[in-house]
């Protein structure tokens, strides 16, 4: 499976109600009602969407150690288009047709403008993933790509209690109670009752 073979559909949809795209112990991604969406297909099968709307993104990048908690939670509203790959069947039921008013509310004159933005994001994501050409998301997990202030994308992969988040200046990996946090200040490896902290 090669990332850059993903293709965008040509019809713009909208969220008919708020949709929870991810909800785990540590992470939450939710898009509000009337958000725009375009399907991302692989071999004609919908494998995800590029969304834009009132998106709430929360992630508890906190490591609990016997000396106290380290790290801060991330909570932000994503206003730019973002990519969500993963279980898409449930999402399809929560999407409906869009109209000009929905597009104008998001600042687009026509569907093509949104599709162009979505394609840019997908290309950006695909190009950055070229080094992982054999990487796939055949598991039940979800992959998210959020544009950041540095002009790059923050990547979130979540599969049950397993989670990987890569953003500017930080990497957070969690598998149940096992966590690794790399921040500008620390590298922390934590397991139940054990913790290794390296100050950088």
């Amino acid at each position: 499976m090669i990332w850059h073979s993903y293709q965008l559909d040509d019809s713009v949809l909208k969220t008919s109600d708020s949709l929870v795209l991810l909800k785990t112990e540590r992470g939450l991604v939710e898009i509000g009602k009337d958000g725009l969406a375009v399907a991302v297909k692989l071999d004609g099968v919908v494998r995800g969407y590029v969304f834009q709307g009132r998106c709430k993104f929360a992630l508890d990048t906190i490591v609990e150690t016997k000396d106290g908690a380290i790290g801060k939670p991330i909570e932000k509203e994503v206003k730019k288009p973002f990519l969500a790959l993963g279980s898409s069947e449930e999402l399809q039921r929560g999407l409906g047709t869009t109209n000009d008013d929905d597009l104008k509310r998001m600042g687009y004159e026509n569907p093509q403008q949104f599709l162009t933005e979505a394609k840019e994001l997908l290309n950006h994501f695909s190009q950055r993933r070229m080094g992982y050409c054999n990487c796939s998301h055949d598991s039940e997990g979800s992959i998210f790509a959020f544009p950041n202030e540095a002009g790059r994308v923050d990547i979130l992969f979540a599969d049950g209690s397993k989670l990987v988040y890569k953003a500017v200046g930080m990497i957070f990996i969690a598998d149940g109670n096992k966590t690794v946090l790399r921040s500008p200040e620390h590298v922390i490896v934590s397991d139940v009752g054990k913790c290794l902290t390296i100050r950088t």
Binding site: K23, T24, E25, R26, G27, L28, A58, L59, D60, I62, E64, T65, D67, G68, A69, I70, G71, K72, P73, I74, E75
Partner: protein
Amino acid sequence: MSEEMKEEMKKLKEEIANMKTQLRDIAEPSSRRGRGLYIDIGSPVQDYVQDVMQGVAEGVHGELERSIFIGPRGCRILKTAEPLREEVEESADFNKVAGLMSALGNEHRLGILNELMSGGKYVNELQEKLSEITVSTLSSHLNVLEEAGLVVQEKVRGRYLITMPGRAAYKMAMKVTRFLGAGNEE
């Protein structure tokens, strides 16, 4: 016998007399000079040894002053006391310190920290433990602690966790209180 020889003999006799005195001191050490061996090794060497011993004593005394804190409950080795004191003097932001102390300065907030010392808790769990205060008061106290960086709230699950500085501040408060309590008892 020449005068020179006579002089030499006299010196030798004096030396023999000295040696006899020293031997007597060795044989009877406690009679005149207390316990231990006494040998006259000459004043320059004695002065040197005394200087060295004084230097060592001053060094040890200075080191003890820097490294050992003597409190009402005995003494504790605090090897880093000196560097820490310098660091605090150089970088102390008293507004920040006062803010931290202010966040700690409430019995309910200390109670919250005490509950969180055993692990993360949801608001309702804290409410059960601190039933004497209302939910809104509890929420207000949690905000103060969070702003001071002593606790952190998970955004997804909503639990409150005590942070590393929070744990250190709580322990410090407890230690100082115990210290003052012990001082008052005396």
